[in-house]
Symmetry: C2
DNA sequence: ACCATCTTGATGCAAGTGCATTTATCTATA
DNA sequence: TATAGATAAATGCACTTGCATCAAGATGGT
């Protein structure tokens, strides 16, 4: 049933490998710098972009493609450290609003130099600018923003 | 320090998303079919390719980019189920040789149709043949086979 | 208003992962 | 041939993830 063409299998296996290698390299650098895991950065970035009004957990969940229970506990940890604030949602009695704190913004700024350098080393260093652009565009087709 | 160009950051974030989405979709299908996780397939495939003489755990580790302790325990589980055989290495008193069993080969054959269809759905369906080829080649540059 | 159904978010428990360390064996150099 | 150092693999313990389920609040039809 639907045995995929060889080029597709090749793309998939390379996607796995490239991602695994790059992610491990990035996480290693963060750890070496005494910084929290990547997921923390993603949360901080999304919340910072959301600004004053914050984000509902389920929105963050969709933005990050994170499992509900994982996000719930990630937010536990991050708010315990004071990087994220949970407040009850005004419109929805079930829900909450997550906002980034001052400490959260500071943490994100502290992570970025290390993270950015790691991205450059793991991705940028291997590709020409045109290749990087093409790669990004092709990957975007695999999971289009608004689908 | 070394803030990467925008195209590089874009490629990285898309790599993360595309991989996360595709992987989740593939794992979901395996689970729905009552099959073990993807990593099992990778082990079975590598061992089947290695043939009679098998593979040393550390070789498998490099092939799969899997952490040593994780592989050690993954092999525990797989050999407990009879899909992989562990035997002491003849040349190296510390080491072992892993080989796939008949049941292991059967499992791999049983997984492939589901896995192949999932790859097609997650990757093939979104790309032309030429795009798939280009994507695979670009990803290969991120983690060249023999580096 | 009522009830069935859906959505949001949390949580108990089992399974997997990461970290540090350990044991055993191999290798190289003096 | 000793012996210091490297490599192969396992393991105890803490943390994270996955799974299933739950409780509380929203929603829509009657």
């Amino acid at each position: 049933m639907a045995a995929p063409p060889e080029a597709v299998v090749h793309a998939w296996t390379r996607l796995e490998r490239a991602h695994r290698a790059a992610l491990a390299a990035v996480e290693d650098r963060l750890k070496a710098a005494g910084l929290p895991p990547l997921a923390w950065y993603d949360v901080l970035l999304e919340l910072e972009r959301a600004g004053e009004q914050g984000l509902r957990p389920f929105e963050l969940q969709k933005a990050m493609l994170f499992a509900q229970y994982n996000l719930s506990r990630l937010i536990d940890r991050m708010s315990a450290k004071g990087y994220v604030a949970r407040t009850a949602s005004a419109e929805d009695g079930r829900g909450q609003l997550l906002t980034i704190t001052r400490a959260g913004r500071a943490l994100r700024r502290r992570i970025w130099p290390v993270y950015g350098a790691a991205i450059e080393a793991a991705v940028g260093a291997h590709l020409s600018p045109a290749e990087a652009r093409t790669l990004g565009d092709l990957l975007e087709k695999l999971h289009p923003p608004r689908s």
